[in-house]
Symmetry: C2
């Protein structure tokens, strides 16, 4: 199989685009797609300070690398979840990448350790607050990412969510018609209210397979295993199901998610109250404990921390 | 495993309702659900004349049987597609059922043979008009069902589509955000304009498994095989995928489709122009050939027939 852009041997077929690329042409393709994403969704400009949330996996490390190569001012944040046999290894990958790739570009890494702040790792915390590990983790990561980006005056926070992640999330939300979540599923969420950092997903145009190939081609040393806590998570089932549909009809994920974005854009154009910033301003207020924006009186993070500190009988 | 309503042995588990039923209790459950469907979606009243579209499969024959047992005035229509080795066997099932079950209740069967009308069976016709067999078949069946129901002054036309059918169709429409199809996906479509029969799906609350068990318990002699033309059809992939999701989380199909109906109802209540009758009145006009309602100048059936009659060179 030959690359469709040059005479080299192809390393990846992209059935959804009916094409195939060699390593360098794949890299160029990914870079172009990320730039298109940044522009199409008004994510950030070259002057903005970006905080990339990195986990040690392929997507977030590749995202950091791409942004640095494209000349953006991108630092990173790693949240150490304290999962034994996993967090130490992912942290090592992130630290090595920082040393080898990011620091030479003048970028820096911030590490936030859950146990320092909450007195326990994510697993123990989930047990304490009697909630599933993945949702406990989600609440904590969302909170800390936002807080650290905001407090350190970053213009925008970027995560490595790819098309597979977004399509799976959309499928889950659509299967249950979660209107509220559907409204908030966008590759760019504005800094709508005081205390809320702008959030972007520059890899929303890339599939998981494409990002894995990109990471291999570009010798990004990432942690291959999924988080051991995620076993049996619904998102993995949704991804499986979408892979099945994609195999039957290449481009399914792409049409599903992009079609949704088009629909959302039209709805927002038709009604200014469906605009994300308006929605946030109408529903968010400062948490009575930590002052970060929340729809409740006390935010879910503070409620969780309060529960974790309540002695059990 | 015991029936949850009586001391008998259960024949079917219904994980989505966290229950299990013996044969008679399953039958009662199905009857109740069909009556709920008829009432909730304002399908028809005991005085209405109903035309059931029967194919020889479990759903449509069971539907006809249920409506007759519940005391409704239900005749049936069978469309002979002329698929050799299949249509003859399905027709035989329908004719036997008519003789054994329907005629003793005073109901009658009408048979429409595609070949009599179009000069060829569905397979040959699809080849002639250069379209996939399933879409050719869909166009012809929709047209003839509507025409025959309308010309014979039936108040309503009923089809045996079950929850699996509707959820699979919804998934297909959502994956591609087919707004127009999404608007028209409802268990009751009104007789909105002259020439358009009212259409209902009284089995939309029942899964395929539940209907298969119902048919076996009630000794309905139906054709088990799927249509040989449907092999590889996308609907089967969607059904497979939904079965996978249902196994992971019982009630998925149910929540997906009913959640959609709720959402649709709210949208229609908020805007009278989203009401089905208004949508139809705004977009339909009589076909310039056959006078049946269509969104185009000539309806898709007449265009197809014209193409079939054009000599090929």
């Amino acid at each position: 199989m030959r690359c469709r852009k040059c005479p080299q041997r192809a390393v990846l077929r992209l059935p959804r685009h009916n094409t195939a690329f060699c390593g360098p042409c794949l890299t160029e393709f990914v870079n172009t797609q990320v730039q298109k994403a940044i522009k199409a969704q008004a994510m950030f400009s070259p002057d903005d300070r970006i905080l990339v949330a990195v986990s040690g996996g392929k997507d977030s490390l590749a995202l950091w690398e791409i942004l640095l190569k494209l000349g953006y001012r991108a630092d990173a944040l790693y949240v150490d979840l304290g999962i034994s046999g996993y967090s130490d290894r992912s942290r090592e990958k992130v630290e090595r990448f920082t040393h080898d790739v990011a620091e030479p570009c003048g970028a820096k890494l911030t590490i936030h350790t859950i146990a320092d702040d909450a007195g326990a790792g994510i697993k123990e915390l989930a047990t304490l607050v009697k909630r599933p590990t993945c949702s406990t983790c989600g609440t904590i990561k969302r909170y800390q990412f936002n807080r650290i980006a905001w407090e350190n005056k970053y213009d925008v926070m970027a995560t490595g969510h790819n098309l597979d992640d977004e399509a799976a999330r959309l499928l889950g939300n659509v299967l249950q018609w979660q209107e509220e979540y559907l409204q908030k599923q966008s590759p760019t969420l504005p800094a709508s209210v005081e205390g809320f950092a702008k959030k972007v997903k520059p890899l929303y145009r890339m599939t998981e397979r494409e990002m894995a190939a990109y990471a291999v081609v570009n010798r990004i040393d990432y942690l291959v295993e999924e988080c051991p806590m995620a076993k049996g998570a619904k998102m993995l089932v949704y991804k499986d199901v979408l892979n099945r549909l994609e195999a039957e009809s290449p481009g399914t994920k792409h049409r599903f998610y992009w079609g949704f974005l088009d629909k959302q854009k039209k709805a927002a154009a038709a009604s200014s109250t469906l605009d994300m910033a308006h929605l946030d301003q109408a529903t968010l207020q400062p948490c009575d404990t930590c002052k970060q924006p929340t729809t409740a009186g006390t935010c879910s993070f503070c409620r969780m921390m309060a529960r974790a500190k309540t002695p059990t009988h």
